[in-house]
Amino acid sequence: MLGNCKGLANYLNLSGDYTNLAIAIGYFHDIGRFEQIRIANTFSDKESKINHSEMSVKVLFENNYIRKFIKDSCYDQIIKLAILNHNKSSYDIGFDNLSEKEALFTKIIRDADKLDIFYTITDPNRSMESIFWYSDWDTKEINKDIIKFFETNHYIDYSQINNNADVITTYYAYIFDLYFPITLQLIKEHKYLDILTQRICNKFTSPIVHEQTKQLLEICHKYFTKK
């Protein structure tokens, strides 16, 4: 059993400076969200046509606001790239073009962000309406093509997501988009996927959606046992 008080940075054996850099990126990664909601009254990048990670970089680096947070500019490039990459599809990041440190901090913020998303979506105090994207809950099934593609590729094509049942697959797909064993371990330890499955089965009325969700859980459990 892992202790609760150690942070991801400790588990990854980062030095003091790099631990602080990881924490800083944690504070910065979504800072553009506040301008996004002010301008467009939504946190949806699609609806607002605002990429929130690009907005975060704009907020921090336009007019050198970053210097209020960190005096030294030597970390600027790592910070920029980690923020810009935190919400990209893993296939679009291009790790080969990143330095070792740029790649490391990109991976760290992506895992930390997802870990908290699992906390959020399994929080009994958070309504399912605030987690899912659409207002219509009368969906009978998850698009079978999405499940088939997910089972084979462990990846979701977001352009295929058209209703709340389809959205279910996006959360299970996060499991395959993690970089550090400790993140997967923490997700297992907190039983986030089991809790999420239960919440989904309580919310959706369609027995087909229930079966499909359990199928997604099974795919993830198989992956867990291999890891």
């Binding site: 008080c5 924490i23 906390y119």
Partner: protein
Amino acid sequence: MIDTKNIKEEFLRYTSNYNPENERIKAKINHTMRVARKLQGSC
């Protein structure tokens, strides 16, 4: 040298410019604080 206490204070100063009564804004601030805490640890 990165001072995470200063970063947290500046982050909270920045977000105080946005409507704190808005539940979505509050949730986003809390998310950021939790992500930072998950990286830092609590002891």
